[in-house]
Amino acid sequence: MRPWSAILIPVVAGLAALLLSAIPLAFAGAPILPAYAQMVAGVFGSVFTATETLTRATPLIFTGLAAAIAFRARFWNIGGEGQLYLGALAAVWVGTGMIDGPPILMIPLVLAAGAVAGAVGLLGPALLKTRFGADEVVTSLLLNFIILIFVQMMLEGPFKDPMGLGWPQSEPILDSAALPALVDRMRLHAGFLIGIAAAFVAHAVLAYTVWGFRARAVGDNATAARHAGIGVRRTILGVAIASGACAGLAGVSEVAGLKGYLTSDLSPGFGYAGIVVAMLAGLSPIGVIAASLFVASVFVGADSMSRAMGVSSFLADLIVSMSLICMLVGGFFARFRLRLRAAPAP
């Protein structure tokens, strides 16, 4: 894909999805132009709404990176949601009093724990694929359900907060382990910066290192990569670890940066939305930043509009899913043009 179309197509796709949302809006009986105005105001209306959007984008950057890295190597990690919860669980396990120390020690520790947990969560499907040839799409998907039930079990068992008035929630994260806020009196936290740093690191690793070279080669043509002496299984396991770790960090950032404790409704589907983010980004780690800002804007804007206009808040999910489909179609037209120009058949 040419650079200009890599930017143009997702932008057009996003706009198209927003335009298409006029149909469900009309169906719900909302006045259309005021509804759009409310959406824009809901995102850009004030410092508060703007930081809320960035806050919402934070987990999406991580889950988007998880999907982008894995999909680059044609490893279909659809289990971002589960890995996110594993990361969050590890964060509360380490960060709620198991040990205590200064933030300089605790924050990296909590982040590391979450990353490891997420990586372990994807290592299962990766091993089942490399050892037994089991399709990772199905295993990583089903693992989402298993992990979520497991988290519920933990929250009603060993992780339950005795002070939680009987609610199935974890004890709160220690202050020393919490990610600091970035703007005074706003919810935006350091997780956002960590996410952006992670995106740049991922970009550099993919583009400039031998490891990234191998991952891309395996993704584009595993047979040729194997023939060229690249260890395909090892590469896939490596990619799975990196991808799972990113998704795990999403969980840490939500627990340690935003919520402060873990409940079983921590994520409204950030893992799945991460797939949309990755596709909108054209699987580019830097693009993930922009794409997650877009998806977060849709969520925040549509939520605000929903509240104001009495339209169902499922509208946000609807717009996000439509943008994925528009993106797919747009990508087709870009490739189609390329094919016409580049491949004068036999």
């Binding site: 469900p24 169906f27 719900a28 279909w76 659809i78 089942l128 037994f132 040839g133 089991a134 399709d135 799409v137 199905v138 295993t139 998907l141 089903l142 693992l143 989402n144 359900f145 298993i146 039930i149 497991f150 519920q152 079990m153 009603e156 068992g157 799945y272 797939i275 949309v276 596709m279 009495g310 339209v311 169902s312 808040s313 499922f314 509208l315 999910d317 609807l318 996000v320 899913s321 439509m322 994925l324 489909i325 797919l328 179609v329 990508g331 087709f332 058949a345």
Partner: protein, 314 residues
Amino acid sequence: MIDILQIFLSESFWAASLRIASPLIFGVLGALLCERAGVLNLGIEGIFVVGAMTGWMTVWLGAPLPVGVLAAAFSGALFGFLHSVLTVPLGLSQHVSGLGITLFASSLASFTYRTALPQVSSPPRIEPFRSLDVPILTDLPFFGPVLFQQTALTWLALILVCVVWWIMDRTPLGVALKAVGDNPEAVNAQGLSVIRLRMGAVVVGSSLMALGGAFLTMSAFDAFFFGMVNGRGWICIALVIFASWQPGKALIGALLFGMFDALQVRLQTEAGALVPPQVFLMMPFILSIIALVIVARRADYPRALLTPWFKGQR
């Protein structure tokens, strides 16, 4: 030990197994049709949701139950058509398109439901399918309760197994369908349309998936809840591999799954005090993964699965 034996001897256990298997039979058959033609349909989870919602809402709006079933099938066909356009003539990634369909279908279903029913505290109910109660047969010992007290939708599922088997194994259409999932060029060279065959299979397969969803709201339960599909679609994708893309084995796979699920519900009541209930809730998913791993090495995937076909290009 005795307890388990008792469970296996009870009529209600077998009746429950068949009931739990019914939506999966629809789903596995649908996935099988799509994949045999060479198209993976990860839209299944969302299509289940849409089928469940559409079937329920049609009846809730006053239509008779069979119309609800047709409406559900039609809604599935619509999303199947979208998936088939994206993956067959446009040749886009079947993985991503399917996930997109799932996200789109389930959010559209939820949005429609919420928009139609903005403020309800408990989901409104409909009068669902009742068990058939065939005279005389129902009173048979054992088989009566197990087979003849099921609803018409369960019977529809069983009939569809035979229909799909007959089409796949006994008709030129089935031969063409299997060929298009193995080597589309073979089909094209004989003047048949690869595009139409594949799109047709995905549309029909998706409408079967939607029937699986409709079973949930119109037979198993009597209302629509958010999250009621709860991974059943994904389980079908695992089962179709387990069934090596054969309708007969698909039935067996779904029934085995139904049995394990019925068993765990009964064990849960027996052993509930000892083991957290979540352990039992996890079982269906763990079982699906195990089933997948068992067959993975010798799974005979349709050769052209996931491979788009373009005219005049090989």
